[in-house]
Symmetry: C2
Subunit: 186 residues, 2 copies
């Protein structure tokens, strides 16, 4: 992992992380972690691949009801969706081309393995906990706007196309903007 | 991973899992997963290393207020503690021999890397979400009693010493029964 994007951005955090950056024990209070605003959502990294020998990272997102996140796939990254609060619909296409959507409510769980097209939409203000292959957890701060605080009411951040391309390339991700989910089974 | 212990045990599940066993997409409703009772706690595997190419597994535990779980370490397994409900005190010894404890409440997070001695105690009836290096998620059903249902009021299961040795050996884990946490800093 690299902090280039953090150091580049007007992050307020000066590129410093609250995470140890190596496999050492640590604790975080609710709301602590590496924050980034992406569109209207707040992403917070609780654990990175730097602490787990690249195995996995853990992050939360806090998001208002919003639009469908465009379909995408990441060739090297397994990703989970666990709903803490609210309602989130997750869409995924399996290896046979079958599309499914599922409305997840608190305690529900979804898994999207590497390589499959997926998308999601927050249908009711939500908090999610995600786990992904190590390294992917910092995608959100590369694409979004790092910030030093977790408070409400921060202005939304809309990445420009160059930032989207750079973040996608860094994580072997493809955006699939024309993907049609209208025939997804529930 | 092997299901030997599941098939061995009087699990009621016949050794079948609700998880796909390979990197395919799936969803679980709250309360679904692979269940096991260990002492008075219910552990539920939501995702195993079989779905993540061995990278990580995800599990929940639902536990009443209880005694201190004895100190232990696992040489190959990174492990997280995320509190969904309740209060859990996590104890860990760092590489310099400094002991720390932290009372975690909802939204708080703890990380224990591979090799460090740690323990925990549920101080107020809790639900936890854990992530660990792939494979470790099934430790709880190897040590505990697999069960096909997630309901309340199941009898506690106390493993015998042979079962403890077998489960510990399968996960390169050491129990440290005489470990003293009385000098842990908060």
């Amino acid at each position: 992992m690299s902090f280039e994007f953090l150091a580049d951005a007007d992050s307020g955090s000066g590129g410093k992380s609250v995470l140890p950056g190596s496999p050492e024990a640590f604790f975080l209070r609710r709301g602590e972690g590496e924050h980034a605003v992406l569109f209207a959502d707040l992403f917070t990294v609780l654990l990175s691949g730097d602490e787990t020998e690249g195995q996995f990272g853990v992050f939360t997102s806090k998001a208002p009801k919003g639009q469908l996140i465009p379909a995408h796939s990441h060739a090297d990254t397994h990703e989970t969706f666990y709903v803490i609060e609210g309602k989130v619909r997750v869409y995924v296409e399996d290896r046979e081309g079958r599309k499914t959507s599922r409305l997840l409510t608190p305690g529900d769980f979804g898994f999207v393995p590497a390589g499959l097209a997926h998308a999601y939409q927050v249908e009711e203000s939500a908090r999610l906990l995600g786990v992904a292959t190590g390294g992917f957890e910092r995608f959100f701060q590369q694409l979004g706007q790092p910030t030093s605080h977790a408070g409400e009411g921060q202005p939304p951040f809309v990445p420009d196309p160059a930032r989207m391309r750079a973040a996608a390339q860094a994580h072997n991700m493809r955006f699939l903007p024309d993907f049609d989910w209208s025939d997804a089974a529930e």
